[in-house]
């Protein structure tokens, strides 16, 4: 990169301007990726954090796509699932978003109802699932903060008073509301799903949380029990609004990536045209097209690599500063994947622009300028 590096230094102004554009696009894309991940987590972590690999849904109209809001499983179904070969555990789980009240606050929470001895009961400090006692409620940290509730305080959900038995150090949420845990019976009686259950009536739940050994015939069991089974990860799409949210944010990122490729292409098109005289001279002096392409692509790589690195660092810093204010999750995936995509797409755009070097005629070097 004998000429390319000197050009970078010499035409500093132009390149700084261009790298600023790259930096800003990178900040935008990586910030958006972190926000997408943060919002996704806020929408679905109650599901993805479950110690289960599959969830069985039962929709009122068979064949409908599974949704937490409409799914309803009964005891026959979770007991049937527990008997399926290769199923290690099958636990009913009630999921419902409702209003929780303390004297000082009223907030939306998602109530998770678990049966006694459930594998998906909230994980306590010692790392094992601990049962929730009837008449009590276990709060995730965000729920405790929002309700300003401590152990021993009373929290009212749907007219039922529950006593806070524990607050957890973890943060699960569902559809942007913090999670609280209670027994499946209490979950039923707070009437989060329609009318509160009459005493003695059959218990139902929202889904069956399954731990499988991998040999289980899930499709066969679904057919026999009238359920639809999804992996925990796929079950995110059953959280209403998650798919739409995720799709719109991901689309925005995709557009930004395409824009970055086009911007890089436009810049390098103009830049290559502006130095086509120099390129003709270089060819006349004996530079091969391959040498010139490598030189120019190296220049684009330096520009993109520098701009994207600065942008990703800025965005990580901004995310760290804003992490308490907006739901944002900075992970290697939210930084590296957009950064690498930006560099690759930018290089593609630049590469298409630079390809015109091949068409430059060294004969043009003889023409008076």
């Amino acid at each position: 990169m004998f000429v390319a590096l000197r050009d970078l230094k010499h035409a500093r102004g132009r390149f700084i301007l261009m790298s600023m554009v790259i930096v800003l696009i990178t900040v935008l894309v990586t910030f958006l990726a972190s926000l997408t991940a943060g919002l996704a987590r806020e929408s679905t972590s109650a599901v993805t954090d479950l110690p289960a690999d599959h969830l069985a849904f039962s929709m009122p109209t068979p064949g409908d796509p599974p949704e937490f809001i409409a799914s309803r499983v009964d005891a026959d179904q979770w007991e049937g699932w527990a008997d399926v070969d290769g199923v290690v555990s099958a636990d009913p789980l009630g999921v419902a978003t409702t209003r929780a009240e303390t004297p000082g606050a009223t907030v939306s929470v998602t109530a998770l109802g678990v049966a006694a001895g459930s594998h998906v009961a909230p994980v306590r400090e010692d790392g094992t699932p601990g049962d929730v006692d009837p008449g009590t409620i276990v709060l995730t940290r965000a729920a405790a903060d929002a309700l300003d509730a401590h152990v021993g305080d009373a929290v009212t959900l749907g007219g039922t008073r529950l006593t806070v038995a524990a607050t957890l150090d973890t943060d699960q949420s569902f559809s942007h509301t913090p999670v609280v845990w209670m027994t499946l019976d209490d979950w039923q009686s707070i009437g989060a799903r329609g009318a509160a259950r009459a005493p003695g009536a059959a218990v139902s739940a929202t889904v069956v949380a399954l731990t499988t050994s991998g040999t289980a015939d899930l499709a066969g069991a679904d057919a026999a029990l009238g359920t639809t089974t999804l992996t925990t990860s796929d079950a995110r799409s059953a959280v209403s609004s998650f798919t739409a949210e995720n799709l719109s944010l991901t689309t925005m990122q995709a557009f930004l990536l395409v824009i970055s490729a086009l911007v890089a292409g436009a810049f390098f098109t103009v830049w290559t045209i502006s130095r086509s005289g120099d390129l003709a001279v270089l060819k006349a002096l004996g530079a091969t097209t391959r040498y010139l392409l490598r030189d120019a692509l190296g220049q684009a790589a330096v520009l993109l690599g520098g701009g994207v690195t600065i942008g990703a660092l800025l965005s990580a810093a901004a995310a760290a500063a804003l992490s308490g204010v907006v739901p944002i999750a900075v992970t290697p995936t939210t930084s590296l994947v957009p950064a690498v995509s930006l560099i690759l797409l930018g290089l593609t755009g630049a590469g298409v622009a630079i390809a015109r070097i091949a068409r430059i005629d060294p004969h043009a070097a003889l023409a008076a300028r």
């Binding site: 000429v3 230094k9 120099d278 002096l285 070097a365 008076a368």
Partner: protein, 231 residues
């Protein structure tokens, strides 16, 4: 090495018809001598130079350096580029220096093009810059040099590879008479010193006192050789 242009014809496509820019030109330039090519605008001088440099393929004829046929109607671009890099030096009408490189780097670039370390030719580059009288300006970029200084750097650049053939297109068109004469003198002197067969295209016969031979070109053909003017 001598440069032989053997019955060179160059035809450009010109809309539906053709334009013969060079018509059966036959010319030999012995090593170490300079032949000037004079002629009116449009006579085909630059076209002949382009063929001699392998910048464009002749329609008919061959270019030979020493005993090697280097350019024919079938020569590939890659081979022509290689020959230019290794055997031919060129000076263009305007100096055509690269804006971001210092005078010294214009010369060192050639080593880089050949895959050598630029520092490998630093000493020789400095010698050449001294020979053309711009050693004091080695660290300057083209924008900081005068037109004459730029043209001198361009001449040094053409010679850094010790070319067997030196091709020069109107080096004096941007210079006044005295400076033009000096530049031609510089070229003929260096050509002799380095043993390069030199073809120098010019508009201005009055600057050609030091060349070894003068050819006149008119309507794509060489006129009868004129006796070399000796100052």
């Amino acid at each position: 090495m001598d440069l032989h242009l053997d019955h060179i014809t160059l035809v450009y496509p010109d809309g539906d018809t053709h334009l013969t820019a060079v018509d059966d030109v036959h010319l030999t330039i012995p090593a170490g001598t300079t032949t000037a090519l004079l002629g009116p605008s449009g006579a085909g001088k630059s076209s002949l130079l382009a063929v001699a440099a392998g910048l464009t393929r002749p329609t008919r004829g061959t270019v030979t350096i020493g005993d090697d046929v280097v350019f024919t109607p079938g020569t590939s671009v890659a081979r022509a580029t290689r020959v230019r890099l290794e055997r031919i030096g060129m000076v263009f009408q305007s100096p055509r220096l690269l804006g971001s490189l210092t005078a010294l780097e214009q010369l060192e670039l050639h080593a880089h093009l050949r895959g050598e370390r630029p520092a490998a030719v630093r000493a020789r580059s400095m010698d050449l810059l001294a020979a053309v009288g711009v050693a004091d300006h080695a660290g300057k970029r083209p924008a900081q040099l005068s037109g004459g200084q730029r043209q001198r750097v361009a001449i040094a650049r053409a010679l850094v590879r010790r070319p067997e053939v030196l091709l020069v297109d109107e080096p004096t068109s941007a210079l006044d008479h005295d400076r033009g004469t000096q530049v031609v003198e510089l070229i003929t002197g260096l050509a002799r010193e380095l043993g390069a067969a030199t073809l120098l295209v010019s508009h201005d016969a009055s600057t050609l006192g030091t060349v070894d031979a003068i050819e006149r070109m008119l309507d794509a053909r060489l006129a009868h050789p004129a006796p070399p003017a000796r100052a």
